[in-house]
Symmetry: C3
Subunit: 298 residues, 3 copies
């Protein structure tokens, strides 16, 4: 999990993913000589093998805040902060506390004289306790970690590290297009984090989503579920009426790429204390590897 | 209308259109040797003639329900069911009744032990009474029927049978792109079903929409209306402030394809008893043929 | 400002931009022999220089009204009319007054027997008073004017005159695609009009937006802000939580084109009496020229 810890040190609220893209390009360039890397804006496409037929999408942006006028904090994506939560300037040292004001408006408290327009993120450090990790931004650092696992362990795979998922979906549109036009890829898996609910539980394995607000193509989903059964990896079937992922953007991209969501559940999403189980993350990586290899061989 | 009856026997809630795509590919392959067929996911493109310049878009998905946990029914698209309406498992035999519970939530009643994740559709059989057909899913089986009429009767035409219109528009984006890039098509007609209202009436002919929530390009619309006047086919001008169709997705596809909506009105949309007039459907097919031929010759 | 006055005489509510496209093609064809013009539907792309690397996007549509049944007025985009405001039929002579009825519904008053489906626009004539212009449709005639200034004053630049921004974004999707595929353009500036607020004031120069409902890519924004500082042109940094522009459509276009919004503030947006300062418009044109040249040389 060392790599996950490193990923959790990098700030990248939606729109400001440059540092994360830099890190990925350097990391893959240094440690994965068999992988071709292509940077598009701050999205990164990594391709391994002769002609991969499956792409893993992992978004590299996170929720956060833009400092507005009069110390107002404007949402980037959909953060769910508590009053008093500690914030840090993205890519900087300044700190402050979020204050929930009248009508639910958020303000930046503390002594900082930070300029309006700066981006702010949760300041909490990750902690591990037994099988559990508690940290901001496990959504989607854990998904990026799992995608890097797939890149390391699969001989034929593409990975799209996408920008803007939490806010607008910019990177998924761009990467879908590039993967379809440049690599004739028609099959995708979304490596992202989902919710612990009454029916999907932390500790019970990776979730495969049968639907969220979007409905993936059933025949592709059936193939995924058949492969999942054969995989021997611990997993849960998730059925939701809301929520979305890069899958939704792919679906509206004009590129005929099928997608299914594969991800570990977490508690307290979009807070400064997201909680996931390490066993679920390992199941997530194992499942992605199993599905990529299974789909590639079909 | 035999073909329409056949179409009404096939289940294809958004996301699960495989059976419908199979049927179309087989039907066209067997009975229309002059038509080239291309399947993209579960969307189907059919092309007839040397260089058609007009495409008819007909969505092949329908509204429906996903069975969730605890017998909850989750909407696919925007169904408008009544308490007690009979449902059938898509592509299966199991039946049950929809129950409207507290706060308007829908549950599946009856004895079935169906698995969460299965898709459900209205079970009612189509009926004809004089000039009227009463059936679920006339939206958009009637539009598919009319598009097949255009494919049979026009020597130069493309038809896009699109997935996901009721839920997300997936197929229209993909088909717009393919028709623009592969066939240089700039002109589209949307073959779909609209509403019986105070100003547009069942039995008064096909409706041509001057706008809905979207505004089609006026110069293209003017050309369509001029051709409609010349056609001799019975039609009504529709002006709406809401509603949408594959036209909206085409408009956001990045492909410069003009579109206008052409469709028969119906009563009780998205219920298990949609009502359309056969005379309106015949006007719809006649108008599509007239417009395709007229636009192609311009 | 003669050119702006001419632009204000042409009607082009979203969907009905044909006359504006005609005018632009003729104007550029006659007076700018060094510019290549390409018309796509009613959007227009103008390209100057050997290999421009920056595109200015200026939307050519405006808000307005469709006449519905029973003299109802249906919104095109988001007009903010007052009861009694004078309207004119787009491209015609008929006039009438907008009446705000029960539940806020709009009706067309007056003696006209105009046909349902006709488009209507504010009838007020532009006025100048010192440094201030008062007119409907400064949004976005002023942005089109500034883009034409950039086309006249920059030796290497592309301009996209886009349709549908107020209503659906059709033209920005199409032009982004064409500029990316045909001209390998990755950098855009949005030439549009913004709001006079507590923090951004008419008369204090052009606004550069650090964000609105969308977040532009930070590294591109940083480059723009550095160039703006060097430009010597009077400008204001704007930070908003809502609002949007063609930038949002570019972001979802699947084309990796960065964008930043550059525009003069106005009072009373989307009314028949929008107010902008001429000094701000000159700053807007100067800033666009400075940024286009600066980005092109980077």
């Amino acid at each position: 999990m060392d790599l996950l810890w490193k990923l959790l040190q990098i700030d990248s609220p939606s729109g400001d993913e440059g540092a994360m893209a830099d890190w990925l390009v350097a990391e893959i360039g240094t440690n994965m000589p068999e992988v071709r890397v292509e940077r598009i804006g701050d999205s990164v496409i990594a391709v391994r093998g002769k002609a991969p037929t499956v792409a893993v999408f992992a978004h590299i942006d996170t929720i956060g805040f833009t400092l507005g006028y009069d110390r107002q904090l404007i949402r980037i994506g959909g953060p769910a902060p508590k009053d008093g939560v500690k914030l840090r300037m993205a890519g900087g040292d300044a700190v402050g506390k979020l204050r929930v004001g009248k009508a639910g408006a958020w303000k930046l408290g503390g002594k900082t004289d930070a300029a309006p327009g700066t981006r702010w993120v949760y300041a909490a450090e990750p902690k591990q306790s037994g099988d559990e990790i508690v940290s901001p931004y496990l959504d989607n650092r854990a998904g990026v970690w799992a995608a890097l696992q797939a890149l390391t362990r699969c001989e034929n795979v593409a990975v799209a590290f996408t920008t803007g998922e939490e806010h607008s979906g910019q990177g998924a549109y761009v990467c879908a297009r590039r993967l379809y036009e440049g690599y004739a890829i028609y099959q995708a898996l979304i490596s992202d984090i989902t919710w612990d609910t009454k029916h999907v539980h932390c500790g019970d394995g990776v979730a495969i989503s049968l639907r969220d607000s979007m409905t993936p193509r059933q025949r592709y989903l059936d193939r995924i579920l058949a492969l999942a059964e054969l995989s021997g990896v611990s997993y849960q079937r998730e059925i939701e009426s809301s929520g979305g992922s890069d899958g939704g953007y792919i679906q509206r991209s004009g590129c005929p790429i099928d997608w299914v969501f594969v991800g570990a559940p977490q508690k307290h999403p979009h807070t400064s204390a997201e909680r996931v189980r390490i066993s679920d993350l390992n199941a997530m990586a194992d499942m992605l590897v199993s599905l990529v290899n299974g789909l590639h061989e079909l």
